[in-house]
Point group: C2
Chain length 355, copies 2
């Protein structure tokens, strides 16, 4: 699949096997592999032999400037020039960090991603958002920098921990809600078949990933820098990012936070008269079938820290908080302006506004 | 003057007075002023009253991630959203740091620069190159991110230290060499009038700055990401960056290093049969008239460290070092390929190849 994001071309390959370095590039002498402790063995399979490599600590809590600096210094040690290629092998965190480092090393080098988690395949690796967390705020710092090629080797998903698979499913559900009930209605069968322990069959898995990539790629092609339609992809994310920050970055998986945030968005949308009750209930039912935390408040989370984190959200504009809420068959943007609307928000976070 | 760099519009104002905040933007509540110890009083005049401000330590040796992080945290403390405006008040270092921070805060905010040094006016503030130094390599990390508006208040130049004025003159000479002898021949009169203690008269000063901005803006409009013609602006810079790194970042001013580097480029160009001897001698004579160090090696500089720094230069491609050397009436790119050419380079740095 080909996409054009902000004038840059991205090609996506959904295949069974892990790609080999010879497929990825011709000149092995200008490559830096970036992976984490969990994806080092996948990087081995890609490299085949000794290639400069930077192994980072895994987890959202390590998505910091320190990690970016480690990549930049590894690139310098490998004597990479402006035509160097950064190959990120991992999930969303590795993709975001490698992409950011590639975007600023010598003011921008080449970037290739091998997505090794469901979350990275259905969401993070496509669309060019890179970044890291600063002062406890998720992705406070970053760039728009699409990879020239993204590989999605399905084989790697079978060994993924259940928590990781569930995290990816959160983003897949989000995309299905945006794409419409035709897609959303295909998901409960995955839960019924024993997900996250069992993955859906090959055909369904490939269908879901491809459809998610096509949907996201289409939106991002139209609105690369998120001035309009791309904001829809933040469904559930204003709540999710605040939850992740309040709980301590890394302690709740991103997809789990997104799933919980989507239900809060349904409640907000319903309170504002935008989300039909039937759709809100259907969405909650799909999310519940995958075993996510559905009710608010999220256990062991400080409400005040949550509200504080929400105020720092970067989707804020003109001082107003914005949210994406589900509508009849997709979702739309709302900005909370009045005092009473903000009060509803507080009730929702406290769990005092169930559907 | 208007320019379009990579699809972004930059407007440049060359005026006498320091701009006021009301001229720069309408909404004072989304502004962060960034300055250093030396430009804090200029920032006072811009702000008029209390506006969130970040005061950095001055000097190239402080052009590090720490400074960038200080700006980002100040922006977060000021609750800047994506529509926030970073206003950089200072010379090249403040411009590079503020521009870089603005390019990555929430994946990109608005950027305005008030250039307060001759160097920033004739070169650094126009064209969108931002960055900072890492591991002793100048501008190893950065982005292409043009300011939407650049103010050049000539009044501030009169109180500039002589070292700063000389630094700016180095870049002005560079631009004049590229633009042709018609411009270059106008410069010796400035030296004759007592520069750097005395500035040229208003008319000549404005003429030189405007012509330098027009030349650079024209080049960058054609080649924003430096894949072709923009490389010419690096005349003298491969030598200059290596000299600055070898001497210890901050100990030699950038323009002084550029002036010295241009003479080395003349020697290299002459050795390769590209720079006519008469033009090389004229260039050396202009540079000498301003009192720059002309002969090699540069005093108190380790030749081995110099060569090492040169090998890490980011203008390297396919492992080959590239240089801009003067030709008949401008300059052109050369790549050193053969062993004997690299040997000439070593001789030039050691001062064993005078014109």
């Amino acid at each position: 699949m080909f996409f054009s994001f902000g004038g840059c071309k991205t090609e996506v390959f959904i295949e069974r096997e892990i790609p080999r370095l010879a497929q990825i590039c011709e000149d092995f002498f200008k490559v830096l592999l970036v992976c984490d402790e969990n994806t080092s063995s996948i990087a081995d399979k890609i490299a085949g032999y000794d290639i400069p490599r930077c192994v980072l600590k895994s987890g959202e809590e390590n998505k910091t400037w320190n990690a970016v600096e480690t990549i930049l210094n590894a690139a310098k040690s490998a004597a990479l020039g402006r035509d160097g290629i950064f190959i990120g092998v991992g999930g969303g965190v590795i993709g975001d960090l490698t992409g950011f480092a590639a975007s600023i090393y010598m003011r921008g080098c080449r970037l290739v991603l091998a997505a090794t988690t469901l979350l990275a395949m259905v969401d993070a690796s496509v669309g060019g958002k890179t970044g890291f967390d600063l002062s406890g705020i998720k992705n406070l710092v970053g760039s728009f920098y699409p990879a020239e090629t993204v590989y999605m080797p399905l084989d790697v998903l079978s060994t993924l921990p259940a928590r990781e698979k569930k995290s990816g499913m959160g983003e897949l559900i989000k995309t299905a809600i945006l794409d419409g009930d035709d897609f959303l209605d295909k998901l409960p069968v995955i839960a019924d078949c024993g997900f996250p322990e069992k993955l859906p069959n090959d055909e369904l898995l490939r269908y879901c990933i491809k459809r998610a990539v096509l949907y996201k790629g289409g939106i991002v092609s139209e609105d690369f820098k998120e001035s309009g339609k791309r904001k829809l992809l933040n469904l559930g994310h204003t709540f999710a990012h605040a939850l992740e920050s309040a709980a301590g970055l890394g302690s709740i998986s991103h997809g789990e936070a997104v799933a919980w945030g989507i239900i809060r968005s349904c409640e907000l949308g319903y309170a504002l008269g935008i989300t039909p009750r039937a759709r809100a209930k259907k969405i909650r039912s799909v999310i519940s079938s995958f075993g996510y935390q559905c009710s608010a408040p999220f256990p062991h989370t400080d409400i005040n820290m949550f509200l504080e984190a929400m105020k720092s959200d970067k989707k804020k504009k003109h001082g107003k908080l914005s949210f994406i809420v589900p509508d009849e068959n997709s979702a739309c943007l709302v900005e909370l302006a009045s005092e009473s609307e903000v009060n509803v928000l507080t009730k929702i976070i406290k769990g005092e506004f169930p559907l």
